[in-house]
């Protein structure tokens, strides 16, 4: 690092001298117009050198033949950099693997992998929700995970065909504004929100995968008819639609709406940013219905990737106590392995009265999307 800085400053100094001399000479021969050419040249040179650096970044699939190196790993992550970069860095530091991550939204990353098909350079697909993993698995692009790996985690949180595994858990909650809502007035189950007393006070993000997963759960547990009735009932209460969980919770905070159907961990993010005085809290529905769904963010190994063993190492690491502890304490998500304590302030998983729906059943979003479009939640 220091050597590089030294070289750079030395070369920079030399270049500066040359440019200076040229400029002075130009002034001497009374040819001031030439100065502009000099500056253009400098700019072009800087651009070219930066561009050259950027262009010669090694592409990830150019494998390094040196066996002493631990190799590389390509991750496509639908989870945001601000959330998972620290733990990925930990993994990279611990193993010496050269980890290259592409960040985007889960659906964008899924679409990219689907488009790349069997040529995809990705080794791991780290997704925010099962929908994306399901779509990629359905296209046959994920490889079967080794059974030793899958045995580390409750089978509830693994896809039925072993193609992907959950890594951290998120519970569906109803966030409410503490200034306008008394928690005692909140209904025990989701059905209670179709009561007209909630008219104009509900916020939800219909395009969000977690919400859609929850509706899929509703379809599983209640059946199509009842789900349809509930959706129409909520719609009759004129809910406000938001893009994602974050704006929904923000709206609950400002009082734009009184309650919001979100995932549990966003609240902690807001409290960390704005302080304990943030006027919203989570309400876990006590009735144990499908409104108390626990979903997962997960990962799968992409079959076409070239660093198979590193991919498995990564997923193993994500299921290790170190990583699980990170999720619990830094992102406020539920750890999925035994022996890691629940983040403070969260109702432990066991007590959550969470409904038991196999994840595989939740991965199919198409039907839900069609239903939501029919009723009018989605265009």
């Amino acid at each position: 690092m220091a050597a590089g800085a030294l070289t750079a400053s030395r070369e920079g100094l030399e270049a500066g001298f040359i440019v200076g001399i040229v400029l002075v000479y130009l002034r001497r021969i009374s040819h001031p117009q030439g100065r502009r050419s000099v500056w253009v040249g400098v700019f072009a040179a800087v651009l070219a050198s930066m561009g050259l650096v950027a262009c010669t970044q090694q592409a990830p699939w150019e494998t390094v033949d040196d066996p002493a190196q631990s190799g590389s790993l390509v991750i496509y992550s639908g989870r945001s950099e601000s959330l998972v970069d620290p733990i990925i860095q930990q993994f990279a530091d611990a193993t010496g693997i050269d980890v290259m991550v592409r960040y985007g939204s889960t659906s964008e990353m899924a679409a990219t992998i689907l488009e790349e098909g069997e040529r995809s350079p990705a080794d791991v697909f780290f997704a925010q929700d099962p929908g994306g993993l399901g779509a990629v698995a359905d296209a046959g692009l994920l490889a079967q995970l080794p059974s030793e790996l899958l045995s580390k985690i409750d089978s509830r949180f693994v896809s039925p065909d072993g193609l992907w595994t959950g890594i951290s858990g998120r519970a569906r909650v109803v966030a409410y504004n503490t200034e306008t809502v008394d928690p005692d007035d909140l209904p025990d189950g989701l059905e209670g929100f179709t009561d007209p007393v909630w008219k104009g006070r509900i916020g939800l993000p219909p395009t969000n995968a977690s919400f859609q997963t929850m509706v899929t759960g509703l379809r599983q547990v209640w059946g199509e008819e009842a789900t349809r009735d509930w959706l129409e009932g909520i719609l009759a209460n004129e809910p406000i639609f938001y893009e994602k969980n974050t704006p929904t919770l923000a709206a609950v905070g400002t009082g734009e709406v009184d309650v919001g159907f979100v995932n549990h961990y966003y609240l902690y993010r807001f409290i960390a940013e704005e302080g304990e005085s943030f006027p919203a809290r989570n309400y876990f529905l006590p009735d144990g219905g499908p409104g108390s769904l626990v979903m997962v963010a997960g990962a799968g190994q992409v079959a076409s990737g070239e660093n198979e063993s590193n991919a498995i190492k990564f997923i193993e690491f994500m299921l290790s106590p170190v990583a699980q502890q990170y999720f619990a304490s830094s992102t406020f998500e539920y750890p999925l392995i035994e022996g890691v304590s629940t983040p403070p302030g969260l109702t432990p998983l066991a007590e959550l009265n969470a409904i038991d729906i196999p994840l595989g059943d939740l991965a199919d979003l198409r039907g839900t999307v069609a239903l939501l479009q029919q009723i009018g939640y989605l265009p």
Partner: protein
């Protein structure tokens, strides 16, 4: 096809030796064909995917709700276009023709909203003006206002898009006003027309080509915008496309819908081209000697100032204030500079290279359009616009599809990202280059050739220096648009290549607003520099 016939005829020009047509072929027709081919890649991709569509996908396309959404999109586009034209022409006229106090500053400030990415702008507007946003927070203790009327839906989307895209019309209109021969308006005035009459009967018709060109860009911009309309919760056609990718993972349906977008683009293009054909009468009345008389505003000065101040406040000051507020919070938490600076460097490199590449690619097409009008030049100009209306994700996926099959070596490298930028932003450069070229009479090029210089040399020594203002304008426009680009960058950039736009998005999407403030501010500041340069230097002293 007539274009090939045309092309063949030029090659077969009677009595022409091989020298003339080979050169034209190599320097103009071939490059323009290559560029058009690149721009058509997404269309090819869309057709391929659309062919896989099953009955369900066609259902999605032909549902009433889809058609309703299409109507929504078209209405929003029409409204935004009309509003931007109205606003731009007024502001342009005020800052160029009248004695408005502080003209130069207003000229610069009203051009700046273009640097604000729409997802940032909409977010800021929502936080500022939402029913319980910052403004309400300020007004509540003073006036006891509990909720502001909701700006979500059509009003919010309309306001945001208008305020952020009107410079696309205002800049060419200002340029046209500055170039106009004062004799036209003076003679109208001497024939008894009042200020309004002169404007309506002489100035406005003269401005029609520039208005049309800018309006086209605004229309395409609002068609393809996703950030603002999603935050403002107005469902447009582009949102419907995204939902297909996002929720249904259905690329065929998305492809079908995208092809509809392409069709609408072509329609808008032919409208603009038709209006431009009439405008050709006016281009000879440019660059007349003499300066324009300044119109005295008198009492009208105050409403004019209120208008300018209002626009600047809504479009610039408000977002800046909200950003500053977040930035303060960020500074309290302890700033993280290194990541942002690295992203800034990347943004600069990518956007600068994009500006140069797009400019170079636009040269053959613009030259053909102006100097060698014919079927091919019309078509290449038209087709060059196709990429501008497509959502970034479509272009990105198209390049994924072709890139990974055709050249794995280049896949996910900077050149491929630059190719995406080329496809997305080509029309921005073509427009300004075209209007600059129109002002260089071909007689100058003939003079150069008669003095023994080859056409290429004449282009370099005569044409290029004279179109420099247009080149700079085009480059600045591409630069700041590339700075804001998000979708394609996420999917196609090399690993670890973060840009300011991706930084902002990454933080905002997880509600880390304070963390977003720094990159957002930096993004806006860096983009403002080239904009300021080329707005200010073209001002008359």
């Amino acid at each position: 096809m007539s274009t090939f016939g045309d092309l063949a005829e030029r090659i077969r020009a009677p009595m022409a030796g091989p020298q003339v047509s080979t050169r034209r072929l190599l320097l103009l027709y071939l490059p323009s064909a290559l560029v058009v081919l690149a721009v058509l890649l997404p269309v090819a991709y869309l057709i391929l995917r659309a062919l896989e569509a099953d009955a369900r996908s066609w259902n999605v396309l032909l549902r009433t709700s889809t058609l309703r959404i299409l109507a929504n999109s078209l209405i929003l586009t029409a409204a935004v276009t009309a509003a931007t034209v109205l606003l731009s022409v007024t502001l342009a006229w005020l800052t160029v023709r009248t004695d408005l106090p502080g003209r130069r500053i207003w000229a610069l400030l009203t051009a700046l909203p273009l640097v604000i990415p729409s997802y940032v702008g909409a977010y800021l507007a929502a936080s500022a003006l939402g029913p319980r946003g910052l403004l309400q927070g300020i007004l509540s203790p003073l006036f006891g206002i509990d909720r502001l009327p909701s700006i979500y839906g059509f009003p919010g989307a309309f306001i945001t898009l208008t305020l952020l895209s009107f410079p696309l019309v205002m800049l060419p209109v200002r340029a046209a006003l500055q170039r106009m021969d004062p004799a036209l308006e003076d003679s109208a005035r001497s024939l008894g027309q009042g200020t309004w009459g002169v404007f309506r009967k002489v100035t406005l018709p003269h401005l029609r080509p520039s208005i049309a060109a800018g309006a086209l860009l605004v229309a395409l911009y609002s068609l393809r915008d996703f950030g603002a309309v999603s935050i403002m919760r107005f469902t447009t056609f582009t949102r419907a496309i995204y939902i297909q990718y996002e929720s249904a993972f259905d690329r065929s349906s998305a492809a079908l819908l995208s092809l509809v977008l392409v069709a609408i683009t072509m329609l808008l293009l032919s409208l603009e081209l038709r209006s431009r054909r009439d405008g050709r009468r006016y281009s000879s009345a440019d660059n007349g000697p003499g300066k324009h008389a300044r119109i005295q505003l008198g009492r009208w000065r105050w409403p004019a100032l209120v208008l300018c101040a209002g626009v600047v406040t809504l479009a610039l000051v408000l977002p800046a204030l909200v950003l500053a507020y977040w930035l303060l919070r960020a500074l309290q938490q302890g700033p993280e500079l290194t990541g942002t600076l690295l992203a800034a460097g990347n943004s600069l490199v990518a956007s600068s290279l994009a500006a140069i590449l797009v400019l170079a690619a636009s040269i053959p097409i613009a030259v053909l359009a102006v100097r060698l009008p014919g079927a091919w030049s019309r078509w290449s100009e038209r087709l060059a616009h196709v990429g501008f209306a497509l959502p970034g994700i479509v272009v990105a996926l198209a390049l994924v599809f072709f890139g990974i099959r055709a050249s794995r070596f280049l896949y996910q490298t900077l050149p491929m990202l630059l190719l995406a930028y080329l496809i997305l932003f080509l029309p921005l450069a073509i427009g300004s280059l075209r209007s600059s070229l129109l002002q260089v009479p071909s007689i100058l090029e003939e003079a150069g050739r008669s003095l023994g210089r080859s056409p290429l040399e004449v282009f370099r020594r005569v044409t290029l220096p004279l179109v420099r203002p247009g080149l700079v304008a085009g480059a600045a426009l591409v630069f700041l648009t590339a700075m804001k680009e998000l979708q394609a960058t996420l999917i196609l950039s090399p690993f670890g290549f973060t840009t300011l736009a991706t930084e902002v998005w990454s933080s905002v999407s997880e509600a880390f607003f304070a963390r977003a403030a720094g990159p957002a501010l930096l993004l806006i500041l860096v983009s403002s520099v080239p904009m300021a340069y080329f707005v200010l230097r073209d001002e008359p002293a």
